[in-house]
Point group: C2
Chain length 387, copies 2
C-alpha cells in the first residue's frame, strides 16, 4: 500500500545505478576473499587534477587517481566512510527511497564502540559533519561515474522554466506553454525528463527569478520563440543539466543574461564550463556552447563601433560602485583560461578601470519593454554576445 | 506588436489599482488648488502600532496615523518620495509594465538640482538606498489598502505546489496533479489565480524544498489526498497568500511541518499570524487557522501519555546542540502572545531545558516511509498538533 507513485523510469534508473554500484564495490569483496588487503581506487578531485579541456570547452578531472587502503591506519576512516556511503545508497536504491544528501548524513551517522589493542573501551563516530558524508558521496560519484541524480538522490531545486515545449516527467506530459503566470519547477532528476516536442529557436537563461517573472508575464518567450529559464542566482545542478540537455539534444543556442558584475560572470562560467571545485560534474552539467548575452560593460560604456545602451544620465543613476570583493573576484576570473578571449579581457579590463557594476533591474527600471523588445532581441540579432 | 500576453485578469486588476491609487492622491491636488498646505495621512507602521488581534488571530495595525506635511521641512523629503513612488506605480499600471521593487528603486532614482534661498547650486537624490523606496511603497500600501501584488508589482518567488486540483492562471488551466516529478512554481500575484476544482482533504506545508521533493516523489499527496506546498525556507508573500486562500476559500485545514527549532517555529508563526515588521499584510497573507504539525520537542522526547517518535539511540545520533542565537530566539518567541498556549509553553520550555534541536531530514534519515506513512498521517489522525 505504501507505493502509489513509483514510475517505470524511476525503477529502470534504480536498477541501473544499483548494478553499477555493485560492480564498483565487488572487487573489494574479491580482494578480501583472496586475503588481499582491500583498497579503493578513486580519481583525485584535487585542484591540481582539475584541468580545463580546451577541446571540450569544460573543466574535467585529469588522470590522477588515489588509492585508499583499508589497512593503512591513516586511510581506514575514509575507506570505511566510502563503503558506508555505498551501502546506504545501495539500500536506498533497492528500497525505493529518495534520500537527500542531508538524509544520507543522518542515515550513516552513528557511534562505533570498540576495544582497542590495550582492551580499552573506545568510541568513534562514523562521521561528525555533513562535509565528511558529502565527500564520501563525491568519491563514489567519481568512482562509479554515476551522478547523484542517477542514484535517485534528491536535492533542493530552484530552477524554473516556461516555453513552447512539451515534456514527459514521470507518467505525465506537461505543456510548458500552458502554465499561466506560474512556471514549471524543474525536478531533481532532469535526466529522467523526456523532451517531446519543441517550438523554440533559442534558450534564454536569466540569473534573477524576478526578471524571469517579468519577461514571462510580458509574454517574451511567446513573441521571440524561446525557452525561458532561471536558476534563481547561483544555479543548482538540475537547472544546469536541463540547460545542457536543451543545447545538446535539441541544438538550441543558449544565451545567459546576468548582472554586469563578477558574480554574474561567475554564474555564466558555471553554466558554461562547470564549477572548479566539482569539475567531475561538468561532463554532464556544463554547456560549453553557452553564450554570455549581457549585461556587458560595453553595453554600459559603449566601445569602438558600439553605442552604449544607456544614456549618460541613466548611467549616473544606475551604476553601483564595485566592492573590494568584486575587484578581487574579477582579478581571479582574469586568470581562468576560458576568460582569456579578446572580448572577455576587454570586459574585465573595463570593469577594473571603471570599478562599477550594473544590475539587470536597472534595465527593467528603464522600462521592461526596453529590456524585452529592444535590448535582448537586438543583442541576439547583432550577435553582440561573448563566447 | 509589443503585447501578446496581456490577460484580461491583469487588465482588470490594473484598472482597479490605478483607480484606487488616483483616489488616494486626489485629495492632495484638491488641497493645493485650494492653497491649503498638502499633507498625507498614513497609518503608522511602527511596532507600537502593531497589535495582535486575538479574535482574528493575526497581527494587525492599530488606529494610529501620522500626518506628513509637504511644508514641514523635516517631512518634505519623505512626502516627495511617497508621491514619486505613487506616480511611478501609477504609470507602470497604465503602461502595462510589471515592475519589481528593485525596478521601482531604479525608476525613481535621480538627482534633483536646484538653487537654495541663497541662490547656491544644490543637488539632492530622490533616494539613495532601496530601503527608502521600499518604505515609500509600504506607506502607499497602508494608505491605499492595496497590496503590492494588486499593483502588479512582481517579486522573486520560491513557493511550489502539487496536488489533485486544477487552477486557472492567466489564460491557462493547470492541472497540479499532472506535473511529473516537477512542481508548479506559484506566481507573484496569487490573487489572480482561480481555483477550479479540488480533490483534497488538507494542505501540508513543508519548510524544506528537498523534503517537499521527497514527499512528492513518493506520491504522498496522492495517497493522503493533500495539497503539498513548500515555501523553501522563510516563505515569500505569494506562498503565504496562496496558503491563506486554500484555507479560507476551500476550507482546507492547513498543517505546517518544519524543523524542530526556533527558526522553524518562526516560519510557522509567519504563516499563521503574519510578520511583526509588516503586520499590515497579515489581513490578507496570514492563515490564523494553520496548525503546527511538527516536528515538536515532544515528538523527540515524548511527554506524559506520549511516546517519542525516535528511539534513544536515534536521538543520540540525530539531535543537534542549540546555538546561542536559537536560545535567544526561543526566549523572544515566549513573549509573543500567540505562543502563550499551554502546548507552546511546554514546547519552548522543553527546548530551553534540553537545548537541542532536530531537523526534518533526521526523520527522513530514519526512512522516507517513516515520515510519509507513519509520522505525518499518525500525527494528523491523533490530532497531535499545536494550534
Amino acid at each position: 500500500m505504501t507505493h502509489v507513485n513509483i514510475d517505470k523510469v524511476d525503477v529502470d534508473a534504480r536498477r541501473r545505478a544499483a548494478n553499477i554500484m555493485r560492480e564498483s564495490i565487488l572487487p573489494i569483496l574479491r580482494d578480501i576473499s583472496k586475503l588481499k588487503p582491500p583498497k579503493l581506487v578513486i580519481p583525485k578531485r584535487t585542484l591540481s587534477n582539475t584541468i580545463f579541456d580546451p577541446e571540450k570547452g569544460i573543466l574535467v578531472l585529469g588522470e590522477e587517481v588515489l588509492e585508499r587502503n583499508l589497512l593503512d591506519i591513516g586511510e581506514t576512516r575514509r575507506f570505511m566512510q566510502t563503503l558506508l556511503m555505498a551501502s546506504i545508497i545501495y539500500q536506498a536504491l533497492i528500497e525505493n527511497e529518495y534520500p537527500t544528501i542531508r538524509d544520507l548524513y543522518y542515515r550513516g551517522k552513528h557511534t562505533i564502540i570498540y576495544k582497542d589493542l590495550t582492551r580499552r573501551h573506545k568510541e568513534e563516530n562514523t562521521w561528525d559533519e555533513q562535509s565528511e558524508s558529502d565527500s564520501a558521496l563525491r568519491d563514489l560519484e567519481v568512482m562509479t561515474g554515476l551522478l547523484r541524480e542517477e542514484m535517485l538522490i534528491l536535492s533542493k531545486e530552484k530552477g524554473k522554466v516556461v516555453g513552447d515545449m512539451r515534456i514527459k516527467s514521470g507518467p505525465d506530459v506537461i505543456d510548458l506553454s500552458k502554465l499561466g503566470h506560474g512556471a514549471y519547477a524543474i525536478e531533481s532528476t532532469p535526466d529522467l525528463i523526456e523532451f517531446l516536442d519543441v517550438n523554440a529557436e533559442f534558450v534564454l537563461v536569466v540569473e534573477k527569478d524576478a526578471v524571469f517573472q517579468q519577461l514571462h508575464r510580458i509574454g517574451f518567450w511567446k513573441q521571440y520563440k524561446c525557452i525561458l529559464i532561471t536558476g534563481a542566482g547561483q544555479p543548482d545542478r538540475a537547472t544546469r543539466r536541463f540547460v545542457r540537455r536543451l543545447n545538446e539534444e535539441l541544438n538550441l543556442p543558449v544565451y545567459i543574461l546576468t548582472d554586469s558584475d563578477p558574480y554574474g560572470w561567475n554564474i555564466y562560467s558555471v553554466f558554461k564550463v562547470g564549477s572548479i571545485t566539482l569539475s567531475y560534474e561538468s561532463e554532464r552539467l556544463a554547456t560549453p556552447k553557452a553564450k554570455f548575452l549581457g549585461v556587458s560593460m560595453t553595453d554600459i560604456f559603449g566601445d569602438k563601433n558600439k553605442k552604449p545602451y544607456i544614456s549618460e544620465s541613466e548611467r549616473k543613476n544606475f551604476i553601483i560602485k564595485a566592492k573590494e570583493r568584486d575587484i578581487k573576484r574579477a582579478k581571479e576570473l582574469m586568470n581562468y583560461s576560458w576568460f582569456q578571449t579578446e572580448k572577455w579581457r576587454r570586459e574585465l579590463q573595463l570593469f577594473l578601470e571603471k570599478k562599477v557594476k550594473l544590475e539587470i533591474e536597472a534595465l527593467t527600471g528603464k522600462g521592461l519593454k526596453f529590456l524585452a523588445h529592444q535590448y535582448i532581441p537586438e543583442k541576439i540579432q547583432t550577435k553582440d554576445w561573448i563566447d
